[in-house]
C-alpha cells in the first residue's frame, strides 16, 4: 500500500501548487476591489492579502454614489458601459448563432456552401488587428462607429466561425433516421428542420450561444477601436479609469474587473463540457 501512497501525496502537492498559482491573481483582484483608497498602493509591511477595513466604496464609486471625499464623481458611471457590453455581446451572439446555425445545417445535411468551412477557420486565424483599418473605414461610412449595434454586427461576424463549427459538429452527430421518417410522412425540409431537428438541438444550441457570448463579452480590441464615447464597453471603460488626484484608480478598476470577470467564469464553468469543442472547432470530439 505504501507504494501507492507516495504518488498520491505527490499528486495532491502538485495540484495544490497549481491551484495556488491559479487563484492568487484572481484573489488579489477580489481583495483589491474591497480595499479602501488608503490601502490601494500599500507596499512592504502595510501590504496585506486581505483588506484591513473592507469597504464597498469602490463599487459605490463606479456606480456614482460614492461618499468618499477623495473620489469625486466620475464623468460617467459604469451603468452605461455595462449596458453597452450587454447589448453588443447579446446581439452579436444572436447574429452569430442565427447565421452560423443555418449555415452549419446547410453544410452538414446538403453539402452546399463550397469552401465555407475553411474560410471560416481562416477568419479565426486572421489577427483582428489586420482587418480593422477597412472595418473602421466601413463603419465610419455606414455610421456604425460608437454604436452598440455596430459593435454587435462585428462581434457577430468575428464569432461566426465558432457558432458554425460547434453547430456543425452537433448536426453531424445527430442521427438522420428521425428526419428521414418525418420526410416520408410528407413534411417539407424546412418544416423538418424547424419542428424536429432544431428542438432536439436546443441544449447544444444554448451551450454554443453561451460560449459565443463569453467570446463577445471578452473583447477589448474591437471596442477600443470602434467606440469612442457613448457606447464604450466595460474593458475600455475600465482602462480609462484614472483621476488626476489619485492616478490609477486601483480599487475602482478592480471592482469593475470583478463585475466583468464574473459572467464568463460562471457561464464557462456551466458549459465546461462544450469548451473543448468550441475552442478546437470540433476538430477534437470529447
Amino acid at each position: 500500500m505504501t507504494a501507492r501512497l507516495w504518488p498520491e501525496i505527490g499528486r495532491y502537492v502538485l495540484i495544490f501548487a497549481a491551484l495556488a498559482i491559479t487563484l492568487v491573481p484572481t484573489l488579489w483582484m477580489v481583495s483589491m476591489a474591497f480595499k479602501p483608497i488608503s490601502e490601494w498602493t500599500a507596499s512592504g509591511e502595510a501590504l496585506t492579502w486581505w483588506p484591513k477595513e473592507p469597504t464597498l466604496d469602490n463599487f459605490r464609486f463606479i456606480f456614482g454614489t460614492s461618499s468618499s471625499e477623495l473620489l469625486v464623481a466620475l464623468e460617467k458611471t459604469a451603468w452605461r458601459p455595462i449596458l453597452a457590453s450587454l447589448l453588443s455581446a447579446t446581439f452579436g451572439t444572436i447574429i452569430a448563432m442565427l447565421c452560423g446555425t443555418a449555415a452549419a445545417y446547410a453544410v452538414s445535411r446538403f453539402r452546399v456552401g463550397g469552401n465555407l468551412p475553411l474560410s471560416l477557420i481562416q477568419l479565426r486565424i486572421f489577427p483582428p488587428m489586420a482587418v480593422l483599418i477597412p472595418v473602421m473605414i466601413m463603419w465610419t461610412f455606414l455610421d456604425l462607429t460608437d454604436t452598440w449595434w455596430g459593435l454587435a454586427l462585428i462581434y457577430g461576424i468575428v464569432t461566426l466561425p465558432f457558432s458554425f463549427w460547434l453547430m456543425k459538429t452537433f448536426f453531424d452527430e445527430m442521427p438522420r433516421e428521425i428526419e428521414e421518417a418525418a420526410l416520408v410522412e410528407g413534411c417539407s425540409r424546412l418544416r423538418v428542420f424547424l419542428k424536429i431537428t432544431f428542438p432536439m438541438m436546443l441544449a447544444p444550441f444554448a451551450s454554443s450561444a453561451l460560449f459565443v457570448f463569453i467570446l463577445n463579452w471578452s473583447d477589448y480590441l474591437i471596442a477600443l477601436l470602434l467606440t469612442t464615447k457613448d457606447w464604450v464597453t466595460i474593458p475600455v471603460y475600465m482602462a480609462s479609469l484614472s483621476s488626476s488626484m489619485t492616478g490609477q484608480l486601483y480599487g475602482a478598476k478592480a471592482a469593475l474587473g470583478l463585475i466583468a470577470a464574473l459572467p464568463p467564469v460562471i457561464l464557462g464553468i456551466a458549459i465546461q463540457r462544450y469548451l473543448v469543442r468550441g475552442l478546437t472547432f470540433g476538430a477534437l470530439k470529447q
Partner: protein, 301 residues
C-alpha cells in the same frame, strides 16, 4: 455537367441549404472579401484620414509599392515581429509542458477531481483585458509578486517589473502562461481520456512501467490532439493584444510591442492608415499562405 437525375427531395434540400448558408456567405464577403480589396487599394496609396479626403479618392496620392518597400526597411516592424515570435517560442512550449503535466495528474480518478478541475479552468475564462489589469497590479514595485519574492528570499525585493524592458517582457509572458495553460490542460486532458483503458491495462500486465506506457501508448494516441493544441496557441499568441496592452501598453518604450500593438499604435497615433494597411496585408497574406500550407500537410497525413 451531366448530373445524375435527382429526386425532387434532393433538389428541395439543395435549395433550402443554399438559402440557409446565404446570410453567412454575405457576411463573409462583407467582412473578408470587400475589406481585403479595400485594404489592397489603400495600401498602394499615401492616404490618411487626416487629409480630409474620403478613402475613395485615395488614388490621388497613388504611390504603387512604395509602402511595401518601406515596410521591408521598417526596423520597428521587424522587431515587433521577432518579439511576437519570441513570445510564441517561450509561451507555447511552457503552456504545453505545464498543461500536459496537469493533464497527466488528472487522468485517473481521485477525491476532489471535479472541483479542482473547475478551479483550474478559471484563468482562461477571465476576460483577457481584466487579466491584464490583474497582472498590472501584481507586478507593481510594491505589489504582491515582490512581496512573495521577499518572503522567499528573506530580503526586501522591490523590482519595478513593468518599467524594466526585459522584466516587462517576462511579466507579459508569465501573464499569458497563467491565462492559457488551462486551455492546453483542457485539450490534452480530453485527448488523454480518449486513450482506451484496456490497452493501458494490458501493458501494465505485461510489466510496462508508467513511463513506457506513456511514451508507447498515450503519446502516439494523442499526437493529433497535441498538434491541434500547439497550433491553436501559436495562432492566438500571434494575435496577442488585450492583456498585454492593458498591462504595459507595449512599453516601456517598445519593449513589449508585439505586432498587434505596433499596428494599433501606428493606426491611432500616426494615423498613417495606408502604411498600416500595407503591414496588415503583408501579415494576412503570409498567414494565409502558412495556414493553407499547414492544412495541406495535415490532410496528407
Amino acid at each position: 455537367m451531366a448530373a445524375a437525375p435527382e429526386s425532387p427531395l434532393d433538389a428541395e434540400g439543395r435549395r433550402l441549404g443554399t438559402w440557409m448558408a446565404l446570410p453567412t456567405q454575405i457576411l463573409l464577403v462583407f467582412i473578408v472579401v470587400f475589406p481585403l480589396l479595400m485594404q489592397l487599394y489603400i495600401s498602394m496609396t499615401d492616404w490618411s484620414p487626416l487629409y480630409g479626403e474620403s478613402w475613395i479618392d485615395a488614388w490621388r496620392s497613388w504611390n504603387g509599392f512604395a509602402n511595401y518597400v518601406d515596410v521591408m526597411s521598417d526596423s520597428r516592424f521587424w522587431s515587433a515581429l521577432w518579439r511576437t515570435l519570441l513570445v510564441i517560442l517561450v509561451c507555447v512550449p511552457a503552456q504545453f509542458l505545464l498543461g500536459l503535466g496537469l493533464a497527466i495528474l488528472f487522468v485517473d480518478e481521485f477525491r476532489g477531481k471535479r472541483l479542482f478541475y473547475s478551479i483550474l479552468l478559471i484563468p482562461m475564462m477571465v476576460v483577457p483585458a481584466v487579466a491584464g489589469y490583474m497582472f498590472f497590479m501584481l507586478f507593481q514595485s510594491g505589489g504582491p509578486i515582490n512581496d512573495i519574492l521577499s518572503a522567499l528570499t528573506g530580503t526586501r525585493v522591490s523590482t519595478a517589473w513593468l518599467s524594466d524592458p526585459t522584466l516587462a517582457l517576462i511579466a507579459v509572458m508569465i501573464a499569458d502562461i497563467w491565462q492559457w495553460t488551462p486551455l492546453m490542460f483542457l485539450i490534452l486532458l480530453a485527448g488523454l481520456i480518449g486513450v482506451p483503458e484496456d490497452q493501458l491495462k494490458a501493458a501494465t500486465l505485461l510489466g510496462a512501467s508508467w513511463w513506457q506506457r506513456f511514451t508507447t501508448i498515450m503519446l502516439p494516441r494523442i499526437r493529433t490532439v497535441i498538434v491541434i493544441a500547439l497550433v491553436i496557441r501559436t495562432v492566438e499568441i500571434f494575435k496577442i493584444f488585450d492583456n498585454l496592452y492593458i498591462m504595459t501598453g507595449g512599453g516601456p518604450g517598445v519593449a513589449t510591442e508585439t505586432i498587434s500593438v505596433y499596428i494599433y499604435k501606428v493606426t491611432l497615433q500616426n494615423l498613417e492608415w495606408s502604411y498600416v494597411a500595407t503591414i496588415a496585408l503583408i501579415i494576412l497574406v503570409s498567414l494565409s499562405v502558412i495556414t493553407a500550407f499547414g492544412l495541406k500537410l495535415m490532410e496528407r497525413r
